[in-house]
Symmetry: C2
Subunit: 217 residues, 2 copies
């Protein structure tokens, strides 16, 4: 892809980044271009030029392209982690409402460009098992899962860990299905399916209560 075309296709976030410091500008530009073209579909030369800087400056801030990838993923993870505070602020003390809002936000998880989760995509694109980004990716995913499990516990769901595992597996599946099947494929079924799962788990929960009553009788 030609540099002029890359420049023309820059995201708004990149345009806004033009006034930022070189390092921030490089990260913002790289995030947009990595997302659009894949981690391997774009080189540091094109990133430096699109960020209105040069390769020397880029390498002053990042030792390698891998380092830049790690910085981008760290920023994505930080922003994504802000979700939990936003959920708590929107529905203070109501964990079930937070869970349902998480679900609805997940339904749009493909993003406006349908490219899903940049962090998951990176795990697939970076075939090297020793890539420095792997730690950031695994740490972020573990953190997300644990936060959701806590939310399920706070919502009074007994099988909170299994429900959280199930919902995260489904969300990850929806994000990649958006890319394999398009917007009308399985991604569009995520919210309905996940609601059914929550309801089904809630029903299953009712069983042990009945069993207990029976034991008492």
């Amino acid at each position: 892809m030609s540099r002029s075309r890359i420049r023309a296709s820059q995201e708004t976030s990149m345009d806004a980044a033009i006034t930022a410091k070189p390092r921030d500008r490089i990260v913002a530009t790289a995030r947009g271009l990595f997302r659009k073209h894949g981690l391997r579909g774009i080189g540091v030369d094109a990133i430096a030029e699109a960020a209105d800087t040069n390769k020397m400056t880029l390498y002053r801030h990042f030792r390698s392209k891998d380092d830049l990838v790690v910085a981008c993923l760290r920023q994505v993870a930080e922003e994504a982690n802000g979700l939990w505070d936003r959920l708590a602020a929107a529905h203070p003390g109501d964990a079930m409402a937070q869970l349902r809002t998480w679900l609805r936000q997940g339904g749009g998880c493909g993003g406006p460009d349908g490219r899903g989760c940049s962090i998951t995509n990176a795990a697939i694109e970076l075939t090297e098992q020793e890539h420095p980004a792997r730690q950031v990716i695994a740490g972020f995913k573990r953190g997300q899962r644990d936060r959701l499990a806590q939310l399920c516990r706070d919502a009074g769901i007994k099988a909170a860990d299994t429900l959280a595992d199930t919902l995260i597996l489904m969300l990850e599946g929806a994000r990649v299905s958006r890319q394999t099947m398009g917007p009308d494929g399985l991604a569009s079924k995520f919210v309905v399916s996940a609601e059914s799962v929550i309801a089904a788990f809630a029903n299953t929960q009712a069983k042990p209560a009945g069993a207990k009553a029976k034991a008492r009788a």
Copy 2:
């Protein structure tokens, strides 16, 4: 990566392919190398050499690298579609047993190399929305989903479509989680979580029967 290293790292399937016809040899070799290095991590020169042929022969069989990618994905899809016949042969007339075997096979879905589903990975790696592989990918995924929904219906599950959607979302999620979190992450929870979901859906089914009884009363 050097060609000698690529050669040294060839899969067994590629070694076995050495006696095959050039076209078959190219596809077998490309499948192994694409899986190991990603669709963008390997070029046609390296593929031709590893397949013990040359670029001219490769281009006689495939107009472009994109064409070769499509041929590889078609072959992966054909092999994967054989699963349904194998399930039926293993448990003739027992759809629930077929579903449970599907589940267990899914649990190992990352493959021995942990790289998950080559077809899903391709959807993420090929950022171009108009790539000729997109049709193969979407068609395969739709087919898989429909076959699983049929199996759920045959197993007597009322909410068969929602259960199939849920299980496929979970399987896709498990395959990418194997890559984001490693073998001890969420991928290892797939079978237990999916079993819980099937059980929960079965419990939920009992509800409408109760509701009906109430209506009759």
